[in-house]
């Protein structure tokens, strides 16, 4: 029998992405097959490559505090959208928790002028406030303060697995009774710091990326934010809330293999997948779709393919897998949350999005690489997988209904 106090449900999803604001906007854009990837030089002169940017006009509607960084602004918009999507008044969130992931904090507001004489830089008008948004925790405070939320709040930063880890930790905290609801997700802006960093690592594909293709040559960076409203089934029932999806299982592991490269065999991610299915009390055959990490880098994608081979060994049919980073790039600290939103979208609609530009998939007999047309089928359970620098892996299992 289902224990409603131990079942975590999603009762709201908020998104700001290069497609616009809202899950419907994201769904319409992605189902149409539209890619938001554009040449970087148009946006960031001096850089070459391809990115996906959130239109600036989407941020102008909100009345932001002047010390909010772009990271904060994206998170505030996604949070407002999540609240609206949940159907609750914003006052209902007063005692909620806020767990927002990111990797760059307020680096969007800091230029290279700070390098030689920080004190002089901070003394210029407005700079002290801009500098105050630097810590990665600032985004959680910005969301909390903006909406008058006074529950537990913190930021999570675990490289590209951050957004998914925020959701997993929020689920733990809900089971602990730390808050009646938690707004959990991630926010990540484009900024010269990260563009330069990935460029220096030669990790960027100058053209639109091709995750899981044999001819893939790197990732594209994107930006956005996604925030989920999470609560226990008991809380949702008491509030008569609409349940969008059930978070059936979650797990976190680490490769302990290399600072930037994944384990070649994908063993850490495979373990993570198995643990998440164990928690969800389901088998590999029960999972209908995996929204992959799928960055498009040579090392990640082969390791990930190996992980699926190991974790889903014995399945009756190959596991359907796609990377939605092919639509609007890799949103780093927000990626796991945005992909959780896309996975929820999949279990609700039964529409499995293909990987764009996937013409010569990695040979992996246990995997059904989704490409071409959108596939439609009933989808009781789907999985979102995330990994990141430092070896972290996180897997979230979402279901369309109660177990």
């Amino acid at each position: 029998m289902t224990d409603f106090h131990k079942t975590i449900v999603v009762t709201g999803v908020g998104v700001i992405s290069p497609y616009g604001v809202g899950l419907d906007c994201l769904q319409t854009g992605m189902l149409s097959g539209k890619s938001c990837l554009t040449p970087m030089k148009d946006v960031y002169p001096g850089f070459e490559g391809t990115i996906a940017q959130v239109p600036g006009s989407l941020l102008h509607a909100e009345d932001f505090n002047s010390r909010y960084s772009r990271t904060d602004q994206l998170a505030v918009v996604a949070t407002r959208d999540a609240m609206a999507n949940s159907g609750y008044e914003s006052s209902a969130f007063r005692e909620s928790g806020v767990l927002i992931a990111n990797t760059v904090g307020g680096l969007t507001e800091i230029d290279t002028g700070i390098a030689k004489d920080p004190a002089a830089w901070f003394r210029r008008p407005g700079r002290l406030l801009r500098g105050s948004s630097f810590p990665i925790s600032h985004v959680a405070d910005a969301v909390g303060e903006h909406f008058g939320i006074r529950g537990p709040r913190c930021a999570i930063s675990v490289a590209c697995a951050s957004g998914a880890i925020a959701i997993a930790l929020a689920a733990n905290l809900l089971l602990d009774g730390a808050a009646p609801m938690i707004l959990a997700g991630g926010s990540e802006p484009l900024c010269p710091f990260t563009l330069s960093g990935f460029n220096s690592l030669r990790a960027l594909d100058p053209n639109p990326c091709r995750p899981f293709d044999q001819n893939r040559s790197g990732l594209n960076l994107g930006e956005g934010s996604a925030v989920l409203v999470l609560e226990t089934q008991a809380g949702a029932t008491a509030r008569n809330a609409r349940v969008l999806a059930v978070l059936r299982g979650w797990a976190m592991t680490n490769d302990a293999f290399h600072t930037t490269a994944p384990h070649k065999e994908g063993s850490g991610l495979a373990d993570c997948i198995k643990l998440s299915m164990e928690m969800a009390e389901v088998s590999g055959d029960d999972i209908g779709y995996v929204n992959a990490h799928g960055t498009g880098t040579p090392l990640n994608d082969i390791a990930e393919a190996n992980a699926y081979e190991i974790a889903f060994r014995g399945r009756k049919h190959p596991i359907p897998v796609s990377s939605t980073k092919s639509y609007f790039g890799h949103c780093l600290g927000a990626a796991g949350a945005l992909e959780a939103a896309i996975t929820i979208m999949a279990v609700r609609s039964g529409a499995l999005l293909p990987t764009l530009r996937l013409t010569h998939p990695i040979e992996s007999p246990g995997v059904d690489w989704l490409r071409g047309a959108v596939k439609r089928q009933p989808l009781p359970l789907a999985m979102s997988a995330s990994s990141g620098f430092g070896g972290s892996n996180t897997v979230l299992v979402f279901g369309s209904g109660l177990p």
């Binding site: 290279t112 105050s132 925790s137 537990p152 710091f193 680490n254 302990a256 620098f389």
Partner: protein, 370 residues
């Protein structure tokens, strides 16, 4: 302990701080801030600084040449905590060991270096080896890599209560069976840009600008704060993870049991704490300071309000206050260090941090006989 929440036990302590790299408790002693020499200052500027040391001389085989100080300290502190806990990692299922790291500013040293390289060479000429190490989660990743820890690996940040947050998250992972053992770390490194921000924001104590001795232990400075740096590490274990009993691993040293804590950005603090402690006040409160330099409400005043007569209140430690949101582990270690050895534990205790109108963090504790 809180009903229905099995406690977890602190079985090992390690730290890198101005007191040096240490396994176990920090022997109580006076600490004066030292003059900053790592960058050019206009006149005397002081802070509680970690004196340079060779990590490999503390942890044989440790290679830290490419790492910033924060990652190096995390590696040393975690090694010392594991050593203090008497754990042989080769005998442990390392897929069941979590790492939870709390930081306010992450790898700010290399973030500064990355900006310097961009200023010198342009954004297209930055150093590829530096970039991945600028991530706030790098220290936790290095701890996992060095010790081969394959469990959950989490980095948290909170303006006021990052350290307390790490303790709460680690305890949660242990209680939910997502790990059997957790290495909890908290700390930050002090760099020029951070010190400059504090200075321009007028947050620093006059003690940062003169060489007058600090007040006696337990005393406070009149205004502002003295920035500090360092990393503390604790080993936390599920009680009875091997035996199924109430006690921790056979032969383990137990410093304290930690109950299910709470933190929030607002709310009725006294009421929440009484609920946490099952209706009673704590017999001992370890104040973890105001968390951030700009907070205004003294934690000790709140501690007096919630404590019964005769209860012991250990005020915030100046050094740990200087770590902004990541000082909680040091507050706890220094409080444990100040307890007389051989005495019975103090029973129901509380680790308490407040931040004016910005909230609180509270963890029920049971300090155990040493």
């Amino acid at each position: 302990m809180t009903p229905n929440s099995p406690p977890v036990t602190i079985t090992g302590i390690g730290s890198v701080s101005p007191f040096g790299p240490l396994a176990g408790l920090i022997p109580p002693s006076a600490l004066e801030p030292s003059a900053i020499t790592a960058w050019t200052t206009t006149g005397l500027r002081r802070a509680f600084l970690v004196q340079p040391f060779r990590p490999a001389s503390v942890v044989p085989g440790l290679k830290t040449r490419r790492l910033d100080r924060l990652s190096a300290w995390a590696l040393v502190a975690s090694s010392l905590a594991i050593q203090d806990a008497g754990i042989d990692l080769s005998q442990v299922d390392r897929s069941r060991v979590a790492v939870v790291f709390a930081t306010a500013f992450g790898c700010i040293e290399l973030t500064e270096a990355f900006y310097l390289s961009a200023a010198a060479n342009g954004w297209n000429g930055t150093d590829p080896s530096t970039f991945p190490e600028t991530l706030a989660s790098s220290p936790a990743g290095h701890v996992a890599l060095f010790h081969g820890l394959r469990g959950p690996n989490v980095t948290v940040s909170d303006k006021h209560f990052a350290g307390e947050n790490a303790l709460i998250q680690a305890a949660s992972l242990l209680r939910h069976g997502q790990a059997d053992l957790a290495i909890v770390l908290a700390g930050d490194a002090l760099v020029q840009s951070l010190y400059s921000w504090y200075e321009v924001a007028d947050l620093l104590s006059p003690a940062c600008y003169n060489s007058d001795p600090l007040p006696e232990a337990g005393g406070s400075i009149p205004s502002g704060f003295i920035p500090s740096e360092g990393v503390a590490a604790l080993v936390m274990e599920s009680s009875g993870r091997d035996s199924g009993s109430e006690e921790a691993r056979s032969g383990a040293r137990c410093y304290a049991r930690v109950g299910a804590g709470r933190w929030a950005a607002g709310g009725q603090l006294a009421e929440i704490i009484r609920q946490l402690l099952g209706g009673s006040g704590p017999r001992l409160t370890v104040c973890s300071g105001n968390g951030a330099p700009c907070a205004t409400s003294p934690t000790t005043a709140i501690a007096r309000e919630i404590s019964s007569d005769g209860a012991v209140i250990i005020p915030p430690q100046l050094f740990a206050q200087g770590l902004a949101g990541t000082g909680a582990l040091f507050h706890l270690i220094m409080a444990l260090s100040s307890q007389p050895s051989g005495q019975p534990g103090n029973g129901q205790a509380l680790l308490l941090g407040t931040a004016g109108d910005s909230g609180f963090a509270a963890l029920p504790l049971e300090l155990l006989r040493r």
